[in-house]
C-alpha cells in the first residue's frame, strides 16, 4: 500500500496531457487513467503501469480532445484565411489566367521533377556501397607502337601484386566476363551476362547474399552464385542452393553455392551470376608469371578510409618497372595505371571495354540546365501575368489601405496568393509526373520510380521549391502593389499606369531567348544524328542478319553443311562466318608488323578482323587493288592479308596498288598483302577510321554468322532458316538480329538525348507560348480604349492589328539576336564530341529564329484579330 502512494505516473506524459487536452475534459481523463495506473501498479508492476499510462495519454490525443487555437492569435490567423479566400475568388473570377498560370507552372514543375529523378538517379550510381569512398578501379593505359589505348580492364595478377607490394592497398577483387551455354535439365541459356569473380566481391560491394555463405560461396572452382532473377530463370520456385548446372564444353558441372539479390540498377556493372575466379585459375589462366598483356579483369582496390590514391600514383612507375619492366621491353608495349574512383565510373569513365554502358556527365549537365530553363520559363509566365494583372487589383489594394492594411500585410497577402498558386501547380505536377513517368522511362531506357521523389532528403526539396517559386513570382507585384498610394488609385477611378512594363518586356525576351536556344539546339541535334545514321558506312547494312552463336565445335564441324543448306534458300544471297562484325566495336587489336616503303619491317598495333572467304562479298566491300581471298588457293589460309586504305596510308604508301605483295604479319601469321579495300566504318562514328587488317581463320574461331538476304526476304525466310539450323545444331538456339538495328543501337545514347531534347524543347516552347497568349490577351484588354479611339479617328483595323503584333514581334527578333551566339557556342561544344559532324549551318539558326517568331506571331495574332473587330461604341460608351 505504501509503494502505491509514492510512485506516480511519468510526469512528462501528465504534462503533455495537460498541454493538449481541453480544460473541460481534463479532470475525468486524468482521473480515469490514474485509476488504471493504480490498478496496474498493483497487478503488473511499475514499468508496465508507467508504459500503459504514457500509451493512454497518447491514445487520448484525438481531435475532439485537443485544445483549439487561442483567440490571442486569431486576427492574423483570420486574415490569413481571408487571403486564401480572396485568392480562390480571384482564381475563379479570371479563369483563363488561372488555367494558364497553373497548368503552365504545373508542366514546368513536372518536367523539373522528371529531370530531377533522372539526374539524381545518374548521380546515385554506386553510392549505396558502404565502402564506396574507399574503392577504386584500375584503368590500364597501354602504349603500343603507333597506338594508345585506355582500358577499363587490367592484367590478371596486377591486383594481387599491388596488395603484396603496398600496405595501403588493403584488398582487391576482380570481375571478368564469362561466356557460355548453360543448361539445367532441359533448360538451355546462352549466358552473356555472367562474370568471374573473387570471393572478396561481397566485402567490396553491398549486394546482399540471400542464401548461402558470402565468405565461402566463391572460394572453390566450379561454384556459382546466382542472382534472384537468374535463380528464378533456371529453377523457378525450387531451391537453387546445391543444384548443378552444366556448362557446354566443360566436363565438371558447376554447383550453385548461393543466391544473391539482383544487382541494383544504379551500379556500373550488371550480371546475373558470378562464377568463382578459382574456376578460371584451375583452367590454367592467370598463372602468376607473365600474362601481363592479357587484359581481361576489372580490378577493384580497397584503400583505408580517407586515403588519397594520388599518393600511390607517384609510386606506380617504380612498381611497374619492378614487376613488368622486362615484359614491357620484350613486347615493346608500355603500361600506365590509373585509379578511378568507384563513384565516378558511371558518369566520367568512357574507356574501352566498360562493364556496362555508362552514363554521361554531359547529358546530366544538359538536362539539368533544361530543367532549370523550363522552370524559369514557367516562373516568368507566372511573374508576367501577376504584374499585368496587378493594375486591375489597384482598387482592392486602395480600399484595403484605407481601412488600415499596412504594407507588410499586403505583401503577405500577395505572397500568400502566389504560394497558393504554386502549391496547386505542384499538386497537379505530381499527378502529371505519375502519368508521364512510364513513357519517360521508355524514353530514357531506365526504370525510375516515383517513390524516389519523396525518399530521404529529397522530401525537403519540394516544399522549398513551392515556396521559392511562390516568392519569386509574387515578389515583384507584392512590392509594387503594396507601394500604391490609395489616394491616387481611388481618385482616378482605377490606375491607368501600366505596371512594370519594362521588366515585363525583359522577361518576355528572356523567355524567348531560352525557347530559341532550345529550338536551335533541337534542330542541330536532329540534323547531326540523322546525318550520322544516313552516313555511308562503306558496307551494306540493309537486309543483313547477324547471328552471334558464340563459336562452338559442333558449329565449326557443320559450317559447310549449314552454308550449303542456307544458300539453297532463294532469299539468301550469301553467308559469311566471321569473328567480328562491323556492328560490334569488337575488332581485335593486335601486334602487327609491316614492310615499309624501303623494305624494312616496322611494328604497330592494328585492328584485325578474322573472317572466312565470303566476308568481303557478303558485306559488299569495294576492292581498290588486288584481289579477295580465293577458295581455290589453299595458301590464302596461311599467308594472305587484305588491308584497308588507311593501313596503306599508315605504311607510308602513295597508292593502294603499291601495297600488293608487301610483307605483313599479324596474329601469328606472316605473309603478303593480296588486296586493299576501301575504308569502311567498323567502329562508331565518334572516331575516325583506323587501319584494319583482314585475314582468313580456322572456322572454329568464327563465332558470328552474317546472312545477307535478298530484298524480298521476310519473316518466313528467317523461320525457314531457323528450321534448317535446328535440324543441324540442337544445343544453340537460332537468335538473329538485323544489322541496321544493331548499328542504330550503338547510337542509343545519342538517340535518347535527341528524343529527350526534342520533347523538352517542345514543352518549353509550349509553356512560353501559353504565357505569350495570356500576356497578349491582357495587353489587348488594357489597350481597348486607346484602340477604340484610334478606330473612331479612322485607323484601319489591319494597321492596328499590325501595330499590336509588331510590339511582340520586335521582342522575338531581339531574342533571336541574343540567342544565336549562345546557341552557336553550345552546339559547337556538343558537336566536338563527334568525329563525323555536320558543319555550322546558318540555315538551322535562321530556321530556329523563324520558328520562334512564327509561334510568337500565331499566339499573338488571335488577339490582334480580335482587336480589329472591336466595337468602339461599346468601349467608349462610359466616357
Amino acid at each position: 500500500m505504501n509503494s502505491r502512494n509514492e510512485i506516480s505516473p511519468p510526469k512528462w506524459a501528465a504534462k503533455f496531457l495537460r498541454l493538449y487536452c481541453k480544460k473541460e475534459f481534463i479532470e475525468e481523463i486524468e482521473g480515469d487513467i490514474h485509476e488504471i495506473f493504480e490498478v496496474n501498479l498493483e497487478d503488473k508492476g511499475v514499468a508496465y503501469a508507467k508504459r500503459k499510462f504514457t500509451w493512454d495519454v497518447f491514445r487520448f490525443l484525438r481531435w475532439s480532445n485537443i485544445k483549439r487555437l487561442k483567440k490571442v492569435q486569431s486576427n492574423s490567423f483570420d486574415m490569413f484565411k481571408n487571403y486564401i479566400k480572396i485568392a480562390f475568388r480571384g482564381l475563379k473570377r479570371s479563369k483563363l489566367y488561372s488555367v494558364i498560370n497553373i497548368s503552365g507552372l504545373a508542366v514546368g514543375m513536372a518536367v523539373f521533377m522528371l529531370i530531377f529523378l533522372y539526374v539524381t538517379n545518374e548521380l546515385s550510381y554506386d553510392k549505396y556501397h558502404s565502402k564506396s569512398g574507399q574503392i577504386h578501379r584500375i584503368a590500364s593505359h597501354l602504349t603500343v607502337p603507333g597506338s594508345y589505348f585506355e582500358f577499363a580492364i587490367a592484367p590478371p595478377n596486377l591486383g594481387d601484386r599491388m596488395v603484396s607490394d603496398f600496405p595501403e592497398v588493403l584488398n582487391r577483387t576482380r570481375l571478368a566476363r564469362f561466356d557460355g551455354t548453360l543448361s539445367y535439365g532441359d533448360k538451355v541459356f546462352a549466358e552473356k551476362d555472367a562474370m568471374y569473380s573473387d570471393p572478396e566481391f561481397f566485402e567490396f560491394f553491398d549486394i546482399p547474399m540471400l542464401s548461402g555463405d558470402a565468405a565461402t560461396a566463391l572460394s572453390e572452382p566450379f561454384s556459382l552464385v546466382l542472382t534472384e532473377k537468374a535463380a528464378n530463370k533456371y529453377f523457378g520456385s525450387e531451391n537453387a542452393l546445391g543444384k548443378l548446372i552444366k556448362v557446354d564444353g566443360i566436363e565438371q558441372p558447376f554447383s550453385v553455392r548461393g543466391v544473391m539479390a539482383n544487382v541494383p540498377q544504379n551500379t556500373h556493372f550488371d550480371f546475373n551470376m558470378l562464377v568463382s575466379m578459382e574456376t578460371r585459375k584451375s583452367q590454367g589462366f592467370m598463372s602468376d608469371t607473365g600474362q601481363w598483356f592479357f587484359l581481361d579483369y576489372y580490378t577493384y582496390l580497397l584503400f583505408p578510409v580517407g586515403y588519397n590514391p594520388s599518393e600511390l600514383q607517384s609510386k606506380m612507375p617504380d612498381f611497374v618497372e619492378r614487376n613488368i619492366g622486362d615484359a614491357q621491353r620484350s613486347a615493346n608495349q608500355t603500361y600506365e595505371f590509373e585509379f578511378q574512383k568507384l563513384t565516378d565510373i558511371h558518369l566520367k569513365s568512357h574507356l574501352d571495354v566498360e562493364a556496362k554502358e555508362n552514363g554521361d556527365i554531359q547529358s546530366v549537365k544538359i538536362f539539368s540546365i533544361i530543367a532549370v530553363f523550363i522552370l524559369v520559363i514557367a516562373c516568368v509566365n507566372f511573374m508576367n501575368l501577376s504584374i499585368s494583372r496587378s493594375t486591375r487589383r489597384a482598387k482592392e489594394i486602395g480600399l484595403r489601405k484605407v481601412v488600415g492594411a499596412v504594407k507588410r500585410q499586403l505583401i503577405t497577402q500577395f505572397l500568400t496568393e502566389s504560394v497558393l498558386i504554386s502549391f496547386l501547380s505542384f499538386v497537379l505536377a505530381f499527378f502529371l509526373v505519375l502519368w508521364a513517368l512510364p513513357s519517360f522511362n521508355t524514353l530514357i531506357g531506365q526504370d525510375l520510380m516515383v517513390e524516389n521523389l519523396i525518399q530521404g532528403t529529397f522530401i525537403a526539396v519540394w516544399p522549398a521549391l513551392i515556396l521559392f517559386i511562390g516568392f519569386l513570382a509574387g515578389f515583384y507585384p507584392a512590392i509594387v502593389l503594396s507601394g500604391f498610394k490609395p489616394i491616387n488609385i481611388l481618385k482616378s477611378g482605377g490606375a491607368s499606369r501600366q505596371g512594370g512594363s519594362l521588366l515585363k518586356r525583359v522577361l518576355v525576351v528572356f523567355q524567348l531567348v531560352i525557347s530559341t536556344i532550345l529550338i536551335i539546339g533541337t534542330l542541330v541535334i536532329n540534323r547531326q544524328l540523322t546525318s550520322l545514321q544516313n552516313q555511308n558506312l562503306g558496307f551494306e547494312k540493309e537486309q543483313m542478319l547477324i547471328f552471334n552463336h558464340g563459336g562452338d565445335g559442333s558449329i565449326a564441324a557443320n559450317m559447310e553443311t549449314i552454308r550449303s543448306e542456307f544458300i539453297r534458300n532463294p532469299q539468301v544471297k550469301s553467308i559469311s562466318f566471321t569473328r567480328s562484325t562491323p556492328a560490334g566495336d569488337n575488332a581485335g587489336n593486335w601486334y602487327t608488323e609491316y614492310e615499309v616503303a624501303d623494305g624494312e619491317m616496322q611494328n604497330a598495333s592494328m585492328y584485325g578482323f578474322l573472317v572466312d572467304h565470303e566476308f568481303a562479298r557478303t558485306y559488299g566491300l569495294e576492292f581498290l587493288a588486288g584481289r579477295d581471298f580465293n577458295r581455290s588457293l589453299v595458301t590464302d589460309m596461311d599467308d594472305a592479308f587484305v588491308v584497308n586504305e588507311s593501313t596503306t596510308i599508315k605504311m607510308g604508301l602513295q597508292s593502294p596498288e603499291e601495297a600488293i605483295g608487301k610483307t605483313f604479319a599479324q596474329f601469328g601469321k606472316k605473309g603478303k598483302i593480296i588486296g586493299v579495300i576501301k575504308d569502311f566504318n567498323y567502329m562508331t562514328l565518334h572516331s575516325a577510321i583506323e587501319p584494319l587488317v583482314i585475314q582468313l581463320t580456322d572456322p572454329q574461331y568464327l563465332g558470328v554468322m552474317s546472312i545477307k538476304l535478298e530484298a524480298g526476304a521476310d519473316l518466313a525466310t528467317i523461320e525457314s532458316l531457323e528450321e534448317i539450323w535446328e535440324g543441324v545444331i540442337t544445343a544453340i538456339p537460332f537468335e538473329v538480329t538485323f544489322l541496321d538495328q544493331a548499328l542504330d543501337n550503338r547510337y542509343a545514347a545519342e538517340m535518347r538525348t535527341k528524343r529527350l531534347f526534342s520533347s523538352f524543347s517542345s514543352l518549353a516552347i509550349f509553356i512560353a507560348a501559353l504565357g505569350l497568349f495570356a500576356l497578349s490577351t491582357l495587353s489587348a484588354e488594357q489597350q481597348k480604349r486607346s484602340i477604340s479611339i484610334r478606330k473612331v479617328l479612322g485607323a484601319p483595323g489591319q494597321e492596328i492589328a499590325l501595330k499590336f503584333s509588331m510590339a511582340f514581334l520586335r521582342l522575338s527578333v531581339l531574342a533571336l539576336m541574343i540567342s544565336i551566339p549562345i546557341a552557336y557556342l553550345a552546339s559547337e561544344s556538343w558537336l566536338s564530341n563527334f568525329n563525323y559532324r555536320i558543319d555550322f549551318d546558318p540555315v538551322l539558326f535562321i530556321l530556329g529564329g523563324l520558328i520562334t517568331a512564327t509561334i510568337t506571331l500565331l499566339t499573338v495574332s488571335f488577339q490582334s484579330f480580335k482587336i480589329t473587330r472591336i466595337n468602339p461604341a461599346q468601349n467608349l460608351r462610359s466616357e
Binding site: 475534459f25 479532470e27 475525468e28 486524468e30 482521473g31 490514474h34 493504480e38 491514445r59 487520448f60
Partner: protein
Amino acid sequence: MKGTYLGEFEELVLLTVGALYDEAYGVAVMDEIKNESGRGVNISAIHSALRRLEEKGFVKSTMGGATNERGGRRKRYFVLTSYGKKALDEAQSLRMKLYERIPNIALGN
C-alpha cells in the same frame, strides 16, 4: 443533435451504462465490458463513445464527489436517459423480430 444511429460499439457502451446504473463512469464501463464480453478496449475509446452518446442525448452525466484514489480527481458518472432507454428497446425489438423469423429447423451444417 447529431444523428441517432447507434453503432455496435456505442450500443455496447450504452447497455453497459444502463446495467451499471448509478456506478457508470469511464473505468467502470471499460472493466464491465472487459468482464462481460472479454473485449479489451482502450479507455480513450470509451470516453469518445460516452461523449458521442451524450451529444446524441442517450445518456447524461454529472461529476461525482472528490475521492482519495485517482490522484484526487472526481469521476464523471453517466446515467441512461429515457430517450436512450427507448433507443435500446427499439434495437432490441428489431433484433427479436428478425430473430423470430429464423426458421426453427436444423441449419445447414
